[in-house]
Structures are given as structure tokens and as C-alpha cells.
């Protein structure tokens, strides 16, 4: 049984909401470095936010080598109404900008797997420019 107060607490934070938004909108499993680039936040901030969401049972993880993929627990029936509610309210500009950066970052995947780790923004932007020029 879900305690609604703990559930709301886990969501009541801008970083954590931005993360949830990315999972809802993208439908993808995402690793920490991809979220870092989409959110433009340091690694420890992203990891800590993910830990809170995970301990609220909103996310779960799958490890692949050194990479950790987080995914939204969207099939838990107790969260159906929650996600439906969130979906209709996650419409701030911040969220949209995150989504755009995430889509760019996801272009760098290979076989739908993250192959770029934590790199300086400058290098990231260069890689993205290359990718988008090719297509």
C-alpha cells in the first residue's frame, strides 16, 4: 500500500519532477549521464534525485556494466492515476527544454544503448552537431 504523503514528498522537488517528466514523455529507460545532460545538472544531484524516486518506488534500475538504466514503474496499477494526473500538469517551459536536450542526447545512442558517458558540455554539443548534420 502506498503512503500518499511519502509519494507526494518524493515528487515535490523541481529536479525530481523534471526527471519524472523525462521518463513520462520519452518512454525510455535512461541512464544517469543522459539525465545529467538533459537536465544540465551535476552527477551527484541527479543520482540523489534518482535515489529518492527509487525509494518511493516510482523508478527501478537495471545495471549493465558500469551503466545503470533507470525506468519508470509505469505498470504498477497503484500509479496509474498518479501518472495520468502528472501527465496533464507537466507542461512548464523547463520541462520542454529538458525534453529537447534529452532527444538530442539520445541521438548519440548506438543500438538504443548509451555509449557516451560523462563528458564536458562542449564536447557533447559538438557530437550532437555532427549527428544532426549527417541525418
Amino acid at each position: 500500500m502506498v503512503n500518499i504523503l511519502n509519494l507526494l514528498k518524493a515528487l515535490t522537488d523541481e529536479t525530481r519532477l523534471r526527471i519524472i517528466n523525462l521518463f513520462i514523455k520519452s518512454g525510455e529507460n535512461l541512464c544517469v549521464c543522459e539525465l545529467m545532460d538533459a537536465l544540465k545538472l551535476p552527477q551527484y544531484t541527479v543520482s540523489k534525485a534518482l535515489a529518492v524516486l527509487r525509494s518511493a518506488n516510482l523508478l527501478s534500475t537495471e545495471k549493465e556494466g558500469t551503466w545503470v538504466y533507470y525506468k519508470l514503474n509505469k505498470n504498477k496499477p497503484e500509479y496509474k492515476k498518479l501518472f495520468s494526473f502528472l501527465k496533464s500538469y507537466l507542461n512548464l517551459d523547463v520541462f520542454l527544454e529538458d525534453e529537447i536536450r534529452l532527444n538530442e542526447r539520445l541521438l548519440l545512442r548506438e543500438n538504443n544503448k548509451c555509449v557516451i558517458g560523462i563528458i564536458p558540455e562542449k564536447n557533447l554539443l559538438k557530437l550532437i552537431k555532427q549527428k544532426t548534420k549527417v541525418s
Copy 2:
């Protein structure tokens, strides 16, 4: 447009959730003294919680003499999904106990208006005992 973070912040507090629960479950407009008795909390705690919920536009007020009736803004279309979500999660024991005490307190209304103000718990229980004996 509703900012979801502010909305969640307003709800992320036990007292405020208990109040929202009472409005959702009872369907009534309620005044501060009635909420005090249902929640067993001091007047300033209840008033402050109500102020937060009001400034998040979840509640609004109607003044009648010295009494102030609060009511849930349940018809605002932007809150439809929120209330539907909340309804399905507001099932903790605390909430149920509040509902029971509220129902007793509401027995003391006359013409569906609050006529008892802020009274010591002892006196309240006596009044309720009388009412329930009669019926």
C-alpha cells in the same frame, strides 16, 4: 495555469492532506472550528494549513458573520484529475478517524450551519453524546 510544483508543495503536509481529505469525503463546506474538532488540532494550525491550501487555489472561502466557511474548488476543470488521483490514495487510518469525528461534529449543526464555536473537547463530547442519544 497551474504550476504543478506549487500545487504539490501545498499538498505535501499531513495536516493539509487531512483537511483536503475531509473536504473530498464529506462534500461539505466547513468552518475552522469544525475542522479543529475533526483534526484535534489547535486553531492556528488549522488556519495556517487552510491559508496554504487557499493560496494554492484549492480552497476558497465564504464569510458568514464571524464564521468563515471553506470549500473545495472541485469544479475547476484543472483540478479534476488531481482530485480523482487524491481520492484513490486517501485511505490511511488517520483520514478515517478524522472523517468519523467530523461526522459527529456536523451533527451539531442547525439548518446545516455551524452554531457551536470553539469549545473544550470535554464539552464537545458531551454535546455529541446528547445528540446521538436522541436520534
